[in-house]
């Protein structure tokens, strides 16, 4: 079994390394507030983020993607595991020791209406991080705020306005400006565009893209929209019930999903093309995501998986590397040939006959075998 450690493989130190991180929330009952159970929000997750890359994090609601994002920037303390940021383990640092690190990692939140204080002016909202970290004089701070407002596509005259005077898209720009104020290295963006209209959403995605190039930012981009995630990400991690079930170079995830859950997610994405929509066969997942309080045994996806067999109920599949950084946790991997299986050291299990291409959203006509090389930059 290949051990999952991208650091060893690439040689360079990643900006962020998350190692067997768990986050359980206790459920308390009774007068004594005794712990009766746990919500396994994030359950043994390992990945690394290289400097300058965008890691997309997708999954249905309740899969733990937001909890993971918050744990990574230490808005939450992990129950177990290690989080190493620029070589420093940060999983148990206290508030005081964390403060200098907060300059390096910032967060953009989902709801642009709820994440800005309605009683503060834009200038104050964006300059607060600088004031808290005591950076520069008042005048410097003001100059910097105006600079950032311009970078995110607002104008300096917005300095004295209140959040309610802005539209949703503009508010999200303010949220991004606030995150940029301290020139962070890592930005965790939690569903930054899902509350916006499509035309505004594309403006925001382009803005995030420009900022990344200009300021050499590293993003962890959390979203449930697979189209959006594909557009922004270099690599994508798919989460299900607190676990990463597939981690892959972005393009490859869409052309060659290995985990049946990923296949089903992709086939559920509606396609704005009536003919294609009619042609493709959709895999409709039955039921809802099971409760993370008492997750299913073995592979957590087995109750909804159309390929599930006995082994899936009993043994939890490990996350296995199938070549060029494409990892998946499945007993019946799809789209994998014998060579890759042997290389990965997985026993020869009966894989479902080549996953039906019809389930994939791609218009594969006229395209060669979609074994896309991983994009690395």
């Amino acid at each position: 079994m290949t051990v999952i450690d991208q650091t060893a493989e690439s040689g360079e130190t990643p900006l962020l390394r998350v190692d067997h991180v768990k986050k359980y929330f206790p459920i308390r009952k009774g007068v004594m507030q005794r712990e009766v159970a746990h919500v396994h929000a994030v359950d043994d997750v390992t990945f690394a983020v290289r400097e300058g890359e965008t890691l997309g994090l997708v999954g249905e609601s309740g899969c733990g993607k937001s909890t993971l994002g918050r744990t990574v920037v230490r808005l939450l303390e992990p129950t177990a595991g290690e989080i190493v940021f620029q070589g420093t383990p940060i999983q148990h640092l206290g508030t005081r020791r964390l403060r200098p690190l907060r300059r390096e990692m910032q967060m953009v939140f989902q709801d642009p209406y709820a994440s800005l204080n309605p009683r503060k002016r834009v200038g104050t909202i964006v300059s607060d991080p600088m004031r808290i970290h005591d950076l520069g004089s008042r005048a410097d701070q003001k100059r910097r705020v105006n600079e950032i407002l311009e970078t995110v596509g607002l104008s300096p005259e917005h300095y004295n306005r209140f959040p309610h005077e802005f539209s949703g898209g503009q508010r999200q720009r303010i949220g991004i400006a606030r995150a940029l104020a301290l020139r962070p290295k890592l930005i965790v963006a939690d569903e930054p565009v899902s509350a916006l209209d499509v035309s505004i959403q594309s403006q925001m995605l382009n803005l995030l893209d420009d900022l990344q190039n200009e300021l050499q930012l590293t993003y962890i981009f959390i979203a449930h929209d697979l189209g959006v995630v594909r557009h922004v990400s270099d690599r994508i991690a798919v989460m299900y019930l607190g676990k990463i079930v597939e981690l892959s170079p972005a393009e490859e995830l869409y052309t060659r999903p290995i985990m049946p859950y990923t296949e089903a997610l992709l086939s559920a994405v509606p396609i704005p093309d009536p003919d294609l929509a009619e042609k493709r066969e959709r895999i409709v997942l039955e039921g809802d995501v099971p409760s993370p309080i008492n997750p299913p045994s073995g592979c957590r996806f087995h109750p909804r998986c159309r390929y599930a067999t006995d082994i899936c109920q009993q043994v939890e599949p490990p996350l296995v590397d199938y070549g060029h950084g494409h990892l998946a946790a499945c007993h019946h991997p799809l789209n994998v040939d014998q060579a890759a299986l042997q290389q990965a050291g997985v026993a020869e299990q009966h894989t479902p006959a080549a996953a039906d291409g019809t389930a994939l959203p791609q218009d594969t006509s006229g395209r060669s075998n979609p074994s896309v090389a991983p994009t690395r930059d």
Binding site: E60, S61, S167, G168, G169, D197, V198, S199, I200, Q201, S202, Q203, L205, N206, D209, H224, D225, L226, G227, V228, R230, H231, A250, E251, Y254, A264, L265, L266, A268, V269, P270, I271, P272, D273, P274, L276, A277, R282, V284, L285, G287, D288, V289, P361, Q362, D363
Partner: protein, 342 residues
């Protein structure tokens, strides 16, 4: 020819606010036949929800002004009294709201909420209504409905709540089901289930559906006819194929181009529609999309009428541009920065 259930003629809705008159809907017309799905697409503030709520009589109020007609099987719903309207709501037109979390009353059991709806419209005893409620829950795909009918909304997941909402809307066999962004708050996997459910129920109940969404992907799957709204107006209207394969409004191209699409190679950059939708209090002169339109020219200072300008007879648009010019130019917008033009 199928029975024509609804005919909306030049509907205008405005609201008096402290800041001035908000012209939320300015002159929209459409018809709806039994068995058909009409998709209404547009961004926030385009008037699509106000249109839907007006059909249900939910926008009535001291500050609201209505013009035009909403003819349901010949009766103008704008003219009927509030009491009479009660016979149409639920019985003839059912509505599914966007947010299943807030549209259900958290302190009543799911079953009681459905029973209440049934008893408000029909003289049936509680036991009959209750067995109807269970049957409805089964039809919308709630497992174990006999037990689930006793649950409170918080015991349901998001997808199940939306199913319960649909059961409620269907409880009195309405001929028209109005679904206002029914899938927006849901995950893609659940969204796919709900879209399938709505189109199946449409056939089972032999009704017509008005499906409002901002998601062109969902529209491509479910709609027969599509209306694209912008600033309270219909800017393009046609069959699903017309709108997707021969779109005439630059706004429609922009919408199609702004979506990161899984069926195309990844675009370097997404197409964006510059600027923001106009304020409904202070609309621009002429074509309402002119300030954001990259192809605007002098003639756009006058507002174009919603007319048929192409071969397909039912395909209407509001754009002065030459049809051939548009056919040559639109792909660069629709396929965004994608290397491969469609």
């Amino acid at each position: 020819m199928a029975e024509r259930l609804l005919e909306v003629n030049d509907l205008k809705v405005s609201f008096a606010t402290e800041d001035g008159i908000v012209q939320a809907v300015s002159g929209i017309s459409f018809g709806l036949e039994r068995g058909k799905v009409l998709g209404i697409v547009g961004e926030s503030g385009s008037g699509k929800s106000v249109t839907a709520m007006t059909l249900m009589g939910l926008t009535r109020g001291v500050n609201a002004r209505f013009e035009g007609e909403v003819l349901y099987k010949g009766t103008d719903l704008l003219k009927v009294s509030d009491a009479e309207l009660q016979n149409y709501r639920g019985n003839e037109l059912g509505m599914i709201f966007q947010d299943p979390m807030t549209s259900l009353n958290p302190v009543y059991r799911i079953g009681d909420q459905i029973v209440e709806g049934i008893q408000a419209h029909e003289k049936v005893d509680k036991r009959t209504a209750r067995s109807r409620a269970i049957e409805l829950l089964r039809q919308v795909g709630i497992p174990n409905p006999d037990a689930r009918v006793e649950n409170y909304p918080h015991e349901f997941s998001g997808g199940m709540r939306q199913r319960a909402m649909i059961a409620m809307a269907l409880s009195c066999n309405p001929s028209i089901l109005i679904a206002d962004e029914p899938t927006t708050a849901l995950d893609v996997t659940i969204q796919a289930q709900i879209v399938d459910l709505v189109s199946r129920l449409k056939d089972d109940f032999d009704s017509a559906v008005i499906f409002i969404t901002h998601d062109l992907g969902v529209i491509a799957e479910i709609a027969d006819e599509i209306i694209v709204m912008y600033a309270g107006r219909v800017v393009e209207r046609g069959s699903k194929r017309d709108v997707f394969y021969d779109p005439q409004m630059p706004y429609t191209w922009g919408l199609l181009g702004s979506i990161p699409r899984l069926d195309r190679p990844k675009a370097e950059r997404l197409h964006t529609i510059e600027g923001m939708p106009p304020s409904l209090i202070n609309l621009p002169e002429g074509c309402k999309f002119r300030p954001r339109c990259p192809h605007a020219f002098e003639k756009c200072q006058q507002e174009p009428a919603l007319e048929n300008r192409v071969e397909a007879p039912g395909h209407l648009d509001r754009c002065w541009l030459d049809v051939e010019f548009k056919r040559g130019r639109r792909d660069e917008t629709i396929s965004g920065g994608s290397a491969e033009a469609a």
